[in-house]
Symmetry: D2
Subunit: 348 residues, 4 copies
Amino acid sequence: MNFASDNAGPALPQVMQAMIAANEGFMPSYGEEALMDQVRDRLRALFEAPQASVYLVATGTAANALALATLSQPWQTVFCTPLAHIHVDECNAPEFFTGGAKLSLAGEGDKMTPEALLAAFAAWREGDVHNPQRGPLALTQATERGRLYTCAEIAALCDVARAHAMPAYLDGARLANAIVALGCTPAEMTWRAGIDAVSFGGTKNGCVGVEAVIFFSPENAWEFELRRKRAAHLVSKHRFLSAQMLGYLEGDAWRDAARAANARAARLAAGLRRLPQARLACEPEVNMIFARLPRATHRRLRAAGARYALHEGPLDTGPDETPLLARFVCDWSIEEAEIDRFLEIVAG
Amino acid sequence: MNFASDNAGPALPQVMQAMIAANEGFMPSYGEEALMDQVRDRLRALFEAPQASVYLVATGTAANALALATLSQPWQTVFCTPLAHIHVDECNAPEFFTGGAKLSLAGEGDKMTPEALLAAFAAWREGDVHNPQRGPLALTQATERGRLYTCAEIAALCDVARAHAMPAYLDGARLANAIVALGCTPAEMTWRAGIDAVSFGGTKNGCVGVEAVIFFSPENAWEFELRRKRAAHLVSKHRFLSAQMLGYLEGDAWRDAARAANARAARLAAGLRRLPQARLACEPEVNMIFARLPRATHRRLRAAGARYALHEGPLDTGPDETPLLARFVCDWSIEEAEIDRFLEIVAG
Amino acid sequence: MNFASDNAGPALPQVMQAMIAANEGFMPSYGEEALMDQVRDRLRALFEAPQASVYLVATGTAANALALATLSQPWQTVFCTPLAHIHVDECNAPEFFTGGAKLSLAGEGDKMTPEALLAAFAAWREGDVHNPQRGPLALTQATERGRLYTCAEIAALCDVARAHAMPAYLDGARLANAIVALGCTPAEMTWRAGIDAVSFGGTKNGCVGVEAVIFFSPENAWEFELRRKRAAHLVSKHRFLSAQMLGYLEGDAWRDAARAANARAARLAAGLRRLPQARLACEPEVNMIFARLPRATHRRLRAAGARYALHEGPLDTGPDETPLLARFVCDWSIEEAEIDRFLEIVAG
Amino acid sequence: MNFASDNAGPALPQVMQAMIAANEGFMPSYGEEALMDQVRDRLRALFEAPQASVYLVATGTAANALALATLSQPWQTVFCTPLAHIHVDECNAPEFFTGGAKLSLAGEGDKMTPEALLAAFAAWREGDVHNPQRGPLALTQATERGRLYTCAEIAALCDVARAHAMPAYLDGARLANAIVALGCTPAEMTWRAGIDAVSFGGTKNGCVGVEAVIFFSPENAWEFELRRKRAAHLVSKHRFLSAQMLGYLEGDAWRDAARAANARAARLAAGLRRLPQARLACEPEVNMIFARLPRATHRRLRAAGARYALHEGPLDTGPDETPLLARFVCDWSIEEAEIDRFLEIVAG
């Protein structure tokens, strides 16, 4: 009963097989290997973007921080939501990689609207040397609360960005979950909606550790490469990043894994909806559920070995009936029986 | 005939097996998994340092830049040789991670002496706010030219550093090759000689991508962890870094791989010594050889598919007989037959 | 009728005289001159802090950014209000000088409460490597809205900071105005209330350009000196900074100037209170007034040559009766007749 | 007998007068005052560069570090001499302001040649992501040893830079001394020779503290302004910087001061040449002399109150006859009688 994170589960067999297969003989290093050419071709085709620059890094934070640094200047401010991973979960990596840019918060919780973005812009006087200048818009899809922007919502936000000459970046650590949930194409969710750069996450959806960073305009390519190297994120035995991504793309393994994770979460959500003790904090759309359970229920779950992030607390002291917020993430590998067992414990 | 780099070959079977074995079920992420406890125990035992702080990162540049940033301040200067990897091969990663510290060059080529270090110190006025302040000593073992410091030489350099209140860091991307070549213990080569922090490289010696960073004094631990996260080098599915390191340590696989690589290079060096066309640039002590071969010989080697780094050039134009410097690296996997074939081509 | 800023007026005669007097013969540079010894003695006496480290810089932003950088680490977050000068008016200087620390906003507008500070702390998980770590508290006295913290309010905030092992910094660009308004001693407003470092502003209160940075504990002294030099803020002909500060301190010129500025603002506020067209946005306590005037009134004032910062707009289009927020700053030199003329124009 | 530095003497009467004259009434701040328009016009005329962007800062290190940061990228390397002020006297300010660029040393001592610059280029593999990329050339005129580049020498160096698509910066802390010594125009020494940006120093030649930074191409203007603000070097009461520069330019005061300083140094050098005890380290061309005097002579000078920088030592112990290198700087204000008294003491 592990709902701690989608990075707590194993890698997909296809991904491991691809790594094993790549472990043969000598190859060029640092992305010069032929496997990376295949990755580039596959991702350009998947995103219908034949001119796109495609890079691989090993962590989601690297993808975000390097992409934002490439799209911004140190005297600018990035715009993101108060719950954005780049703001709350990266120990100032964006500030470090950008050389000291600021993050300005727009919107409530995990989602932004064009109105909220415009209000955040208005807080800074454009062209006034005393305050930070407007920099990139940064969205997360699926959001940190397991919700989705429709492609139209993304487009509306990017329109605002473009009207103010700002680039738009999409943190796609769970892009696969979003794509299969919305049934749209990767292109529709990204460049067709106005996104300039996106990370296409592998790690949380069944890879060992790989994220693709895709720039739809080629002008940032060389700068990104230099920033990646300078940040120590250019991997020497790059074949193992390439192989992971190929295994992930092969036969649409990434879609299957995302569908599986989303379906497990839907089963869990449906079960919780039926239980009077549980209250969903918001309507889950991918593989993450935020729900409140009574403190006593949390204690029972913990005692039974369930693992998940408790966002409120403390658990140990306080009235049994107080509901506490928790996050439950389903990865592709969690078994339905585990979910059902979890629901039984909640039911009490 | 691939002598391009020790990152061009495959990973050790033991390393791959350990990764596959680790790909089972759920585990905590970010180094909280039990496998990392084993890594910590094993490395503390290997280095006879029960209090050491032990961390894993995926690249050698990350190990170097993070360790140096932890040991220095932005207004200081690191001391290294003119050929140090941190100076010539990391695209300013040390400057980036340290927040703008300077690298001061001491010694000639790949090696430093206490005299050279003292001369480099003398270039900066201690305690004068106008110039950079003295920061860490950074050595590479084995050096970038495939040579070795004896443990006594390291100790003599660390004595100078300590006498000036400076910490000493050892870039051990090829530490395994050095340890087996000198026949000393890891402790003798590091903390017993005065080293404060060392990277114990796995990537170049048969891993997929893992380096251990070891601080012998625990005081830097938390800062290193924060710097690692902030630099996007804290891997979420950390089990795969831990597994690699365990497979590498298991049954002394690391020693066997380093011995194999060194032996192959010795065979190559012995062969080149017998050939009048070839001239070794320095006496190789581990798995790297720098030698000069006539331009015509290089052309023949290239035509036959041999891969290695040519340090002088151009190859295409110029008199056939001009000797050009090249680097030949042997990894653990290269076959003796390949070496012999290479020597035959050189012999002409 | 210039209410644009307290940096738009002239320097005090005493300050200019001191600079002229200092322009004699040869002196050591970089703060080694005897004048700086006098400054140090005078400020230590004024703040009743014989161990304090005292430095001079030429700009308020330099004072803030250097002090915060000295008190923080790049992986931390500073806590300040949404209107803090360091957040909205320094073009990311704090992020730059700290090496990428974050600014977390606490409280509403220009003032913070212990409750707001605790709530801001709660947003970050202490000791969790994934999010920024708690760093210094930064307050502004007088605030950016011309209001004051009582010494007890400062002490209550510093108590919270200290209970969480965080240092407290006070941006005192208008500290003189605050001290004379509250009638307390500099010590009561700073270290006795728990402040670890303060800037004692001169520029806005009649100097040419000088701010003292005072650390009440000596441990940060050398780091500050290195940071100042590295940021190009160590002035070579430092005698002219020292002289300014001595002229400013001489005969309590600083108190007289601050009292004059506060009194002018009080006259202006009293006048505005009597006029139905004007609405004070908050109760002014020093030399800055925020008030709303009808758009038509603003137009009349502009036409008459009045200068001040309009915070809402646009002025040119829109209904005459709409009130728009503006800031009116009085420096020591503005004449009462100018204020009265201004009020007449507002009266219409 | 103060030869410590050209920042140890007083400011020119014209400069002080201009500051006093500027201290009247209200003016816009931050360089928006009309005085700055005059400065801009005057400097564009002086440099025959009607399109140039002109800025004022208060310190030479700020001028250098901000200009270099504007002309470079963090993954590049600046090229300068081993004695360059930016390398040895700024406590890593260039590394800080550039966000971690490297300084590569070219040439010997204080001067560079095209050959030395080409050799320094050759040390870095162009377009190879692993090493730093080529960045700006940085020259100092007059050099840190009081010598000069002819305009033709500057042009030859800039030609090399331009051929490699690198910008060229000239640290002109003592540009005035160089211009009057060579008898050329400011334009000939800068943009006509290929210089892209220059600092025109005032501080060392009779100002209180002001340096102009001039970009001959306007494309860097806005970035420089943002970098200046973010580095806390945008002065609020900017009128006092403008006034200094106007006083300095008025009636060619800057030329007269530079000529006076150079003449005093020539008198000193001529005197030393006549004395067998003294040995000039190089032929002085402006207002700085490097000479070796016996340790006993240094002791006599010190005892008589002479002040200057001793570059070798220690003074207190060692044989009387050992010659020790020292630097003697003459500012515009030093009297001939002082020089003659100094020479008498040397003569013994």
